[in-house]
């Protein structure tokens, strides 16, 4: 059920009967944006995208139109469109409903990207755990091909485009764009040295557009209604709406489509129904596990890329993780570090060793075997990683820990008498 504060653009077909079928899609403006785009020049499509101020929904928030514009269309090599459906960032579960309930919207967005950069082949890289979504997408691709929206000479326009899914096999790092391309090439998911960026040398070293599921999903609405229309839904530099995944200690966790710039307070207390059991808010991770924590003093921050960055964190992938007063922040730091340690690809030294030793130190500390100097060491270890690693995973691992040590030092100190104070209270976390 839609929340009244939601602005449902890319989720507008969610909840329709048989929403994943092509007939439902066609009955609700499906592939109309494609028909329109087929009559536009690539330049015009990219222009519309730029006007929309759509920023990548995968985490980094890079303007999508700008990215498409970097692809050298005159290159003699084939160009590829790749969709990042790896959705691995803890706290993030918004690409799932987009594929589950409206797979054709995604296909349509990818097709339009293909038109914009003159590509004839797309791949959707879906994390291995999402097998049922691979099946849904495969079915949708077959349907689309059956109705002439994929394959040769699409809708008689002369435009050819093939699309296929590709399964991951358990690796968060494969969500990082260059690691994803390696994985798509059948290799270990180790990121690449950049530059060159994928727009110039991506899949099979060919120019490649790579965006998140949600980014592509927003494209049909932008083309149909115009970039300006989309832009105005959000704030000046943050066009449109996005799916926020509320999780943790809110009363009504869920995935909500909200305009960019909605204040955090409204998001937690109105959309999310406030803190479960009427407890107090302690901390919020605003953009997936990789982003530094915010505290109640940040409740008035508008949730858009720039404002959250100004508050010292990132809007990231839109995973808003809410923590109440009984949460042990040392435990949070430890659990996040365990995750990054598990997922570090191991390629570069500071991430491989940093996550490992940080995990060991925090585990010992949380278990009550820490000494005062360990608190500083944990922070230093994280600082030693920050900005020094091969890819942003190292930063992602470092930033939350640094912010927790800084803002919750007192909770670390409370662990110095031999046990976790929150576990004593009966709370596990």
């Amino acid at each position: 059920m839609a929340h009244p504060l939601e602005v449902r653009i890319i989720s507008r077909r969610f909840g329709l009967p048989n929403s994943a079928s092509i007939d439902t899609f066609l009955a609700h403006q499906g592939y109309e944006a494609l028909r329109k785009a087929l009559k536009m020049t690539p330049e015009a499509i990219i222009e519309e995208m730029k006007k929309s101020a759509l920023r990548g929904r995968g985490g980094a928030g890079f303007p999508a139109g700008l990215k498409w514009g970097f692809v050298p269309r005159q290159s003699p090599r084939p160009r590829y469109v790749v969709c990042n459906a790896d959705e691995g960032e803890p706290g993030t579960c918004k690409d799932r409903p987009l594929m589950e309930y409206d797979p054709h919207q995604l296909i349509e967005g990818i097709l339009i990207a293909g038109l914009a950069v003159d590509s004839h082949q797309g791949f959707i890289y879906i994390r291995g755990e999402y097998r049922y979504l691979i099946d849904i997408m495969d079915r949708a691709i077959e349907e689309a091909r059956g109705r002439g929206f994929l394959g040769k000479n699409i809708l008689g326009s002369g435009f050819d485009f093939e699309l296929a899914t590709h399964t991951g096999a358990g690796s968060y790092e494969c969500g990082e764009e260059s690691a994803l391309l390696e994985s798509l090439e059948g290799k270990r998911g180790v990121p690449r040295i950049r530059p060159p960026f994928p727009a110039v040398a991506g899949l099979y070293q060919c120019p490649t557009v790579l965006n998140n599921v949600e980014t592509y999903a927003a494209v049909p609405a932008i083309i149909l209604n115009g970039g300006d229309w989309y832009h105005k839904l959000g704030t000046p530099k943050n066009g449109g709406t996005r799916l926020f995944a509320l999780s943790g200690h809110v009363s009504r966790p869920g995935v909500y489509e909200l305009p960019l710039g909605m204040p955090l307070r409204q998001m937690i207390y109105e959309v999310g129904g406030g803190i479960r059991g009427g407890r107090q808010l302690k901390a919020v991770i605003p953009g997936g596990s990789s982003t530094p924590v915010l505290t109640p003093e940040h409740l008035d921050v508008p949730m858009d890329f720039d404002s959250v960055a100004k508050a010292g964190s990132f809007l990231g992938s839109g995973g808003v993780i809410v923590m109440d007063e009984d949460t042990c922040m040392v435990k949070v730091a430890l659990r996040l570090t365990e995750f990054y340690q598990h997922e570090s690809c191991g390629w570069c030294l500071p991430c491989r060793e940093g996550t490992l030793w940080l995990r060991k130190l925090l585990a010992r500390f949380h278990a009550g075997a820490g000494v005062n100097a360990d608190i500083g060491r944990a922070g230093e270890l994280a600082e030693n990683m920050l900005g020094h690693t091969f890819c942003p995973l190292g930063d992602a691992a470092a930033m939350p820990v640094i912010s927790i040590v800084k803002q919750f030092r007192h909770e670390f100190e409370q662990h110095l008498n031999g046990r976790c104070p929150f576990e004593a209270k009966g709370a596990r976390a």
Partner: protein, 716 residues
């Protein structure tokens, strides 16, 4: 500071004398940016950048010496030391470890993190390679040198994150060329060698740079010696023609030196059995017989070595020609160098301009490889060809009757039937195009591609010899550019043996023995009259010895009876060698000889590059070939002049065509090209005698049988 466009920051800095520390960066191998040691501050970049991946650009401002950079380096070292076992006192790499050096220079002598270290047990991957996981710093050099440099891909990265390790290809074992490149390139003691591990500390060793005694490529190897034993061979300073390259033989197959079956005393046949004798007894026995035969006017046959240095070869032929008055002298010819030089000279080009050096293979725009399997038989030249394709975009064309590994680098490959090389050469040189059977279509295409190349470097094995070489040169001359050649011969001094005149038809430097002018020159120098006509070839000498036409056969460092039969006792057989070979077993007198690693002198590799060999060990019992020949001559009453290696080499420089090289380079350990110019006639007439032994990476003629390491690897 200025640098060529595209130069990596780390290289540009190094060239300007600014050291930027690095583990994973390695010149010539792909970029990794994994160790993060090279982080530097670049103006306008928000974060520190890796100097190993960023190319220099106009106006770039870089700081390598700021507190931020120092902190980053110290952090990286601290991370390394957190897990690295601090077992330096018992680590083979102690004293020559890049991690030790780095810590010494950039601080962080210990880690503040005191959690338990990760542990994995040391693994034996092959007789050559051992891996100690906890010491590994994951710089991936070994993986890259194996994949990119060797094209073997026997190593891979396994697991991920903190459990990442390097793994071998064959279920815990290494199935590979066992070159040991991975060991040498490892900056720490994670990869160690079966021959050296737990043997010594580097500072106790005495280092002797010399030339590998195995194949014809002539790699420099530095022997690490302690207590008159060689403990390892390597080329860590990357000097010499091979740079950092060595194959298993150059690196590990020195152990024949210490083999228990090594001959240490002369043996003299008494009542049908070889029994130990003193040097004096043995020499006297040889000299007495030689004197007697000389007085009787009996004929001698002399067979020389592919392994012994130029001085030995030269002195041996001088002894034969001037002392024993015979041109019955030969050696196992593994390439027809004489025919190549003659064919070039006859076709009107200067041979010296057309004989390529080993390093030319690194830069040649196009290489045509006919026959041979350099991966097995010429590991260095194969490395150079691969490197050329990989780093310099050189094109490689391969013709062979079987599949060879270098085809993987080839631009085009032509498979021909065995024995059809000659026909192909005629085709390549010819004009025929019309009306050919469709089977010739690939030949046509191949020829068109070769003709489109401007300069070609042709490398060929024993498939092409005698007249075939003349056809090859004829083809080369049909091409537009400057065609150059390398003839592939097997052993460390095959080329030298040939150049020095261990041939029945030519004097040193390929002058035909019939050439009165040249002969007169040697006669004047040696103060003798020389036999004017060609002598017997190798097989003819053995046949003649067998039926009593030769009074004596003197074999120095060769094992012809492995291949040919000789009727026992039919003539007096003297064998000078390191082991009791098939030939030595039939000898009347066996003289224990020093190995190449035990003498000074020079050798010439198959490309005609002259290099110095140096004595690494003293011998107790065996004597240097030069000394033995000198002693025999003296006892026999023949004057050979001075027989010290330097004096003989002086004479070589003076008298052997092409060997009048500058001394400075040679003395400094460089490889100096020789420049043969003569070769007016290749009328040796016996191309059938030219054949390669077809050694593999793990064999080396007779010598290889006495290397336990090679034996262990063959069994592995």
């Amino acid at each position: 500071m200025t640098a060529a466009p595209g130069t990596l920051l780390i290289e540009a800095a190094r060239r300007a004398g600014i050291e930027i520390p690095a583990f994973c960066y390695y010149p010539g191998l792909s970029l990794q940016a994994a160790c993060r040691m090279c982080l530097v501050e670049i103006e306008k970049a928000p974060k520190l950048q890796t100097a190993c991946t960023v190319p220099v650009s106009e106006g770039m401002v870089v700081r390598t010496n700021t507190p931020k950079v120092h902190d980053a380096r110290r952090s990286m070292l601290e991370f390394l030391l957190t897990n690295h076992p601090l077992d330096c006192p018992v680590c083979d790499k102690g004293g020559e470890c890049e991690l030790q050096d780095m810590v010494f220079r950039y601080g962080a002598s210990f880690s503040r993190f005191r959690e338990e270290k990760r542990h994995t047990d040391e693994e034996k991957w092959s007789p050559v390679v051992y891996y100690d996981g906890p010491r590994c710093i994951l710089c991936y050099r070994c993986v890259r040198v194996c994949n990119e440099g060797m094209d073997v891909s026997a190593l891979a990265i396994v697991n991920r994150g903190g459990r990442t390790l390097i793994g071998p290809n064959a279920g815990g074992h290494l199935d590979c060329e066992q070159c040991g490149m991975c060991i040498d390139i490892c900056p720490v003691g994670a990869l160690t060698s079966g021959s050296y591990r737990h043997q010594a500390r580097p500072w106790e060793l005495h280092y002797v740079p010399t030339i590998c005694t195995h194949c014809g490529d002539g790699c420099k190897t530095t022997l690490s010696v302690r207590n008159n034993r060689v403990l390892r061979g390597n080329n860590r300073d990357q000097s010499g023609i091979n740079g950092e390259f060595l194959c298993i033989k150059g690196r590990y197959a020195f152990d024949f030196l210490h083999h228990p079956e090594r001959l240490t005393q002369p043996l003299v046949r008494q009542e049908g059995k070889l029994v130990p004798a003193t040097w004096a007894q043995a020499l006297r026995a040889v000299a007495a017989r030689f004197r007697q035969l000389l007085e009787q006017g009996s004929a001698f046959g002399i067979i020389g070595s592919n392994h012994a240095g130029n001085e030995t070869a030269y002195l041996l032929q001088k002894f034969a020609r001037a002392g024993l008055r015979t041109n019955n002298i030969d050696h196992h010819r593994t390439a027809d160098y004489a025919a190549l030089i003659a064919a070039l000279a006859r076709s009107g080009v200067r041979p010296a301009d057309r004989l390529a050096g080993s390093r030319d293979l690194l830069t040649a725009r196009a290489v045509l490889l006919i026959g041979n399997n350099p991966t097995e038989q010429h590991p260095l030249l194969a490395w150079n060809m691969r490197t050329n394709v990989r780093l310099n975009k050189g094109r490689l064309y391969v013709v062979n009757h079987r599949a060879i590994k270098l085809e993987r680098q080839a631009t085009a490959t032509l498979r021909i039937e065995e024995g059809r090389a000659g026909a192909l050469l005629d085709f390549l040189a010819g004009q025929t195009t019309a009306g050919q059977p469709p089977a010739l279509q690939p030949w046509n295409e191949f020829r068109d591609r070769l003709r489109a190349e401007s300069d070609l470097l042709v490398v060929f094995g024993d498939e092409i010899k005698g007249d075939g070489i003349a056809r090859l040169v004829a083809f080369g001359n049909t091409l537009g550019g400057v065609t150059r050649y390398i003839a592939l011969g097997d052993y460390n001094n095959s080329r030298g043996a040939s150049d020095m005149g261990l041939l029945p038809g030519s004097l040193p430097g390929y002058a035909p023995v019939e050439d009165a002018v040249v002969r007169a020159r040697f006669e004047a120098e040696w103060n003798v009259t020389l036999p004017p006509g060609p002598g017997l070839a190798l097989d003819e000498m053995i046949a003649a010895a067998g039926d009593g036409r030769l009074g004596a056969l003197y074999v120095v460092g060769a094992n012809p009876l492995k291949r040919y039969n000789l009727n026992a006792g039919s003539s007096f057989l003297v064998v000078q060698d390191m082991f009791l070979t098939e030939t030595a077993r039939q000898a009347d007198v066996v003289l224990p000889a020093a190995a190449v690693y035990e003498v000074n002198g020079t050798v010439t590799n198959t490309c005609g590059e002259l290099q110095r060999i140096r004595q690494a060990l003293g011998t107790n019992g065996p004597r240097a070939d030069l000394e033995i020949i000198g002693l025999i001559a003296k006892e026999t009453g023949i004057s050979l002049g001075p027989v010290g290696s330097e004096e003989v080499f002086d004479e070589i420089r003076r008298l052997v065509n092409g060997y009048n090289v500058a001394m400075a380079g040679l003395a400094a350990g460089e490889a100096v090209p020789t420049a043969p110019a003569d070769g007016r006639d290749a009328s040796l007439g016996r191309p059938d005698l030219v054949h390669s032994s077809g050694d593999t990476l793990f064999t080396s003629g007779t010598l290889g049988q006495y290397s336990d390491m090679l034996e262990a690897v063959r069994r592995h």
